[in-house]
């Protein structure tokens, strides 16, 4: 392992050369930042991973059941398990998806589940990302570079090879493909994760396209290949959010989408990964109900643990939030990427009063969680090992079988006082090693 640490600078240099960057818009200006790589890996034992694998498979299966149900029969609402408000007022809910069955019934093909480990070793789910979770390419390329820098490290240790991600992803696309080529639809090179889009296209053999390259004719989706020949598309792994996907069905001002794409999808003539409308299931308010979903759809107890979560929507939870305000973290359900997260004890008296007034006025807008004292992971900073907060994004791919990738993106906060690890907030990343035994 220390070999790799010695090579850390060289690896970071390589990452920069490969364009492993993260684009950030700040004050209307596009800036590309390197996504700093720390060479000390997060290590997950075989037993731990076996537990996580089972738990994540169960969780994603239940979430897919929920997505299929909520856009058709709505049994879970009718049976009173989830209040209708939490579905219909979710900004991720799309009425356009009502009655539309995704190919082979899978809505969340690529799920990014964020976890943290507390000091007592318990893993907690922080959030489910079922729309366009990004990040798999970073540990993928980092592993590749590490193996080149220090091959012996990987020869001596029994570490699960994570370079099969592209195989899993291709299998996932092929499984739902309705006939035609696989494409990865990117908004373009100014997108935060453009490196990832191009890298995954290269690795899976999918065609990297922008909205302008795709077009609909009658009931099918096509693109023009390099010879100028029209080729049919059977699966679109889109890296564009729902509202921009199709200007004829969603936001008309979208210039990065494909007109009529959704009409073709509705007829079952192309697969879209992940399915539109998934936002209703990874809403921070719906998160609270995931263990209930597992029980409801699968009849099993939920293996994964949610962080203790309170919905001010319920009166008793509101009381808890007000009583324990200094000990909790408040999250705005409409925000993502580490924005809209407030720690009760970090507010001034005035800010606190304003926040409480806001929660009382708009209880559905917020969730509150106990602050989990999660373990720090060491990183190297100026030649020294220092502890930093870190989380783990596990990738779960659904293609008939539900497959948990034996790796994951470990993100850490570079600021010693911060709990927020999101890349858009300037965090770094580590490789995640899953031991074979």
């Amino acid at each position: 392992m220390y070999d790799i640490c010695r090579e850390a600078d060289a690896i970071n240099e390589q990452l920069a050369r490969y364009g492993v960057k993260f684009g950030i818009y700040k004050n209307n200006e596009f800036k590309e930042q390197l996504f700093p790589f720390d060479a000390i890996p997060r290590v997950i034992t075989a037993e731990e991973f076996a537990y996580l694998e089972k738990g994540l498979q169960q969780r994603v299966t239940a979430l897919n059941c929920f997505l299929a149900d909520v856009y058709s029969d709505k049994k879970i609402i009718k049976d009173g398990v989830i209040p209708p408000e939490f579905v219909y007022s979710s900004s991720g809910y799309l009425a356009e998806c009502e009655g539309v069955k995704p190919t082979k019934g899978i809505a969340s093909h690529i799920s990014g589940i964020d976890l943290v480990q507390s000091r007592d070793g318990t893993w907690y789910i922080l959030e489910d990302n079922l729309r366009v979770p990004s990040g798999a390419s970073y540990p993928l390329i980092a592993r590749d570079l590490c193996r080149r820098a220090s091959p012996m490290v990987f020869r001596e240790r029994k570490i699960a090879d994570n370079r099969n991600y592209a195989v899993l992803l291709k299998k996932t696309m092929d499984y739902v493909n309705t006939g035609g080529d696989n494409v990865i639809l990117t908004p373009g090179r100014y997108n935060a994760a453009f490196f990832e889009h191009s890298y995954l296209a290269e690795k899976t053999g999918a065609v990297l396209v922008t909205g302008n390259d795709l077009f609909v004719e009658n009931d099918r989706l096509y693109y023009l290949d390099y010879q100028g020949e029209k080729r049919q598309v059977g699966a679109v792994y889109r890296r564009i959010s729902d509202e921009y996907l199709d200007p004829m069905n969603f936001l008309p001002e979208s210039l990065i989408g494909v007109p009529h794409l959704y009409d073709v999808y509705r007829k079952g003539n192309v697969a879209i990964l992940n399915a539109p409308g998934n936002g209703v299931a990874d809403d921070k308010g719906i998160y609270y109900f995931v263990p209930k979903m597992v029980k409801y759809y699968l009849g099993e107890d939920c293996i994964t643990h949610n962080a203790p979560t309170y919905l001010p929507y319920y009166e008793q939870d509101m009381k808890y939030v007000l009583d324990k305000f200094d000990e909790i973290v408040i999250k705005d359900v409409a925000e993502a990427g580490g924005y809209g997260v407030v720690f009760g004890n970090k507010l001034t008296k005035q800010e606190k009063e304003d926040m409480i007034a806001l929660i009382k006025a708009q209880p559905r807008r917020f969730i509150a969680q106990d602050v989990i004292d999660f373990i720090d992971l060491d990183i190297m900073e100026n030649g020294e090992r220092v502890p930093r907060k870190a989380d783990l994004r596990a990738f779960v791919l659904s293609a008939g079988d539900v497959m948990v990738w034996k790796s994951g993106l470990t993100r850490f906060s570079r600021n010693p006082d911060s709990f927020i690890v999101n890349s858009s907030q300037g965090g770094g990343f580590k490789d995640t090693w899953v031991l074979l035994h």
């Binding site: 029969d73 709505k74 609402i77 209708p84 408000e85 579905v87 219909y88 007022s89 900004s91 009425a95 356009e96 998806c97 009502e98 009655g99 539309v100 609909v216 004719e217 009658n218 009931d219 200007p247 004829m248 069905n249 008309p252 007109p259 009529h260 009409d263 509705r266 007829k267 929507y313 359900v333 409409a334 007034a357 806001l358 009382k360 006025a361 708009q362 209880p363 559905r364 807008r365």
Partner: protein, 343 residues
């Protein structure tokens, strides 16, 4: 369905819908989506339909989540005009309601950006609900509204949708107090509008929601003035509550907002009305498990003279013509609609 038969005599309509767009310079890469085709439901049955869309490179048909039919396509070449002609024969008035079966009633409880109430909606509500009446905005806040659609600076306005049960009790209060007389009057007035007493649905059982909505409709018709040119398809009901003026689309939105505020599911309907003119819009409310059409612009219940093209949460779901194209052209649109009973 003997009950249905008692309501109306079916009418057979022949209708034309014609839209002519002229662009002051040539456009290209024109994608369009048209929703001007009568749907088959309990109330109306399409006998025949034909359409012509010029120019086009290809055309295809689809059906959306609300059961609306649409035609979509693309016109590749440069062109400076776009024509849509639809002709059909529809049997209407087969029933005065449509049984609720699509499982989406919860959805129509919830506000959308175009129908979310604000200060002006709340003020109007206070104005039209008689003093001493129990009908009021109640209990728990409608979280959906405040979270997603509250405009900045008016978070937590005390406009609250409510749970159905509470709303119903309150509506009973309205009827027991001061409203029955008013409701009866609406019924009389309504009858004169639509011809016979039978035109007002006489379903057995609970009529609370229907009567509350009728009351709202009548008040809207009295208090709002019909005025062209003050609104467009982006106008919200809150803006109309402030302006107290608009066209059929705005009247429908206002009725939908009021109904949803007291927990009655309501939806938007677009289509055409007997005679010559433009397209029309009205609202539908869910009462006793059935959807009834109410037209606040004309202050009457929807009957066999209405041909429905589409239904949805608000006008955004029912846009007759959606299009995108390249070039900054100015578009002038002429719409001509004709619907008449067949002799």
């Amino acid at each position: 369905m003997s009950e249905t038969a008692a309501c109306f005599n079916p009418l057979e309509f022949e209708f034309f819908y014609e839209m002519q767009s002229e662009f002051d310079r040539e456009i290209e890469g024109h994608n369009f989506r048209l929703m001007c085709f009568p749907i088959n439901d309990q109330r109306q049955k399409v006998q025949s339909i034909s359409y012509e869309i010029l120019p086009h490179t290809w055309l295809s048909e689809g059906c959306d989540s609300f059961g609306n039919l649409y035609v979509y396509g693309r016109a590749d070449g440069r062109h400076d005009s776009f024509t849509v002609r639809v002709h059909g024969i529809v049997e209407t008035g087969r029933s005065c309601f449509e049984a609720y079966e699509d499982g989406l009633s919860d959805l129509f409880h919830h506000f959308t950006p175009a129908t979310a109430p604000g200060d002006f909606a709340a003020a109007y509500f206070r104005e039209i609900v008689p003093a001493g009446c129990n009908l009021r905005l109640c209990g728990r806040q409608n979280p959906g509204f405040s979270q997603v659609y509250a405009p900045k600076g008016c978070a937590g306005i005390q406009v609250q949708g409510c749970r159905l049960k509470q709303a119903q009790t309150l509506r009973q209060g309205l009827q027991e107090d001061s409203a029955p007389e008013k409701v009866r009057k609406i019924r009389e007035k309504d009858s004169s509008c639509t011809g016979t007493e039978q035109d007002i649905p006489q379903t057995a059982g609970k009529q609370d929601d229907y009567e509350t909505a009728l009351y709202f409709m009548r008040r809207i018709h009295e208090d709002f003035s019909y005025q062209k040119g003050v609104s467009d398809t982006n106008t919200t009901s809150e803006q109309t509550f402030e302006r107290r003026a608009g066209v059929c689309q705005d009247f429908a939105h206002v009725l939908i907002t009021l109904c949803r505020m007291v927990g009655i599911p309501a939806r938007y309907a677009a289509g055409i009305l007997e005679g010559e003119g433009e397209t029309h819009a009205w609202a539908e409310i869910l009462s006793d498990g059935k959807w009834y059409g109410l037209d606040p612009t004309n202050n009457c219940a929807v009957d066999g003279r209405y041909i429905k093209f589409s239904q949805g949460r608000d006008c955004r779901d029912c846009l007759v013509n959606r299009g995108i194209y390249f070039n900054l052209a100015r578009e002038t649109q002429k719409i001509h609609v004709y619907a008449g009973t067949r002799k």
